[in-house]
């Protein structure tokens, strides 16, 4: 279901838990599907002994992907026109991520009604891991 202008106000928020207790297996699933087989994400021995990190960590794109699930659940299928993020902090196995969208603006452009959203995903400690923005077409 797409959003309609009449349902939205600036400042509205939508929040979802997008990953609960992130597993190493899900990170491996993401590696296999995306084709990014960097061992930093899947290979504990390389990551701890060679790269010097405490354990493997998620692809930034996995954090962006799960955050995108919250966005498409909110705005509807095929409605996004823009989606961009900065990767602010690493995401580790065991993390629980909550993604939130906030309505920044509702506007008209080229005969379409658009909503601008700011996007923020935090871990179980409240630390932001992904920060960004998105724009979607909504019903006028």
């Amino acid at each position: 279901m797409a959003l309609s202008k009449s349902e939205l106000s600036v400042g509205d928020t939508h929040e979802e838990v997008v990953v609960e207790d992130l597993t190493r297996t899900q990170i491996i699933q993401y590696a296999g599907a995306s084709g990014d087989y960097n061992p930093l994400h899947t290979d504990e021995i390389f990551t701890t002994q060679v790269a010097g990190y405490p354990t493997v960590f998620a692809h930034g794109m996995l954090s962006m992907g799960v955050t995108g699930k919250m966005l498409t659940n909110l705005v509807g299928d095929g409605r996004l026109t823009k989606y961009g993020v900065r990767f602010v902090n690493q995401v580790w196995p065991g993390d629980t991520l909550t993604a939130k969208a906030t309505v920044d603006a509702i506007r008209e452009e080229d005969g379409e009604t658009l909503v601008d959203l700011s996007v923020s995903t935090v871990n179980q400690d409240g630390a932001e891991v992904v920060k960004g923005s998105a724009t979607a077409r909504i019903d006028g």
Partner: protein, 161 residues
């Protein structure tokens, strides 16, 4: 990440959606997808990143017979040169997409890479940070621009604390 031939496949979309924990039927059920506004299976918004699967010589995919920097008998299959990189790591710093036209299974995309800006700054946690931007335009088989991707990578001079 340029690739000349990125076939959009329903099974690949299903696997990708599973990997991000997205159970929306539009990503795996053609019948349910037919009832939606797009009217067909579509990929999740970050799916074009998986074009890496179709990029020849992609450096984050092991190739048969080639050394690989992950572990096997040894913690890494590639020895760093002495006095070499100093423990720095390449990271993905930013990713931005613009969606111009729908993508469906059966499409074949072609990616065109454009070098963006590069810059450097001192970081708090990873030493000197070198940023570089790349822009990738994805065109479909009808030469319609479907997605523009802008990626920013960062190379740290040491392990991020």
């Amino acid at each position: 990440m340029a690739t000349d031939h990125f076939p959009i496949e329903a099974g690949h979309i299903m696997l990708f959606a599973r990997s991000i924990g997205d159970t929306n039927p539009i990503y795996h059920d053609a019948g349910a997808a037919a009832e939606t506004e797009p009217g067909h299976v579509i990929p999740p918004p970050t799916f074009v990143q998986a074009s890496a699967q179709f990029t020849e010589g992609y450096n984050l995919r092991p190739e048969p017979g080639q050394p690989w920097f992950g572990s096997g008998k040894e913690p890494t299959g590639v020895q760093r040169a002495p006095g070499g990189e100093g423990g720095g790591t390449g990271f993905h710093a930013e990713q931005h997409y613009e969606y111009h036209a729908p993508i469906a299974p059966g499409d074949v995309l072609r990616a065109v890479d454009k070098q963006g800006k590069s810059w450097e700054r001192e970081g708090r946690r990873g030493g000197t940070l070198q940023f570089s931007e790349s822009i990738t335009e994805y065109y479909n088989q009808d030469d319609v621009l479907v997605v523009t991707a802008r990626s920013v990578g960062v190379q740290t001079s040491r392990v991020v604390e």
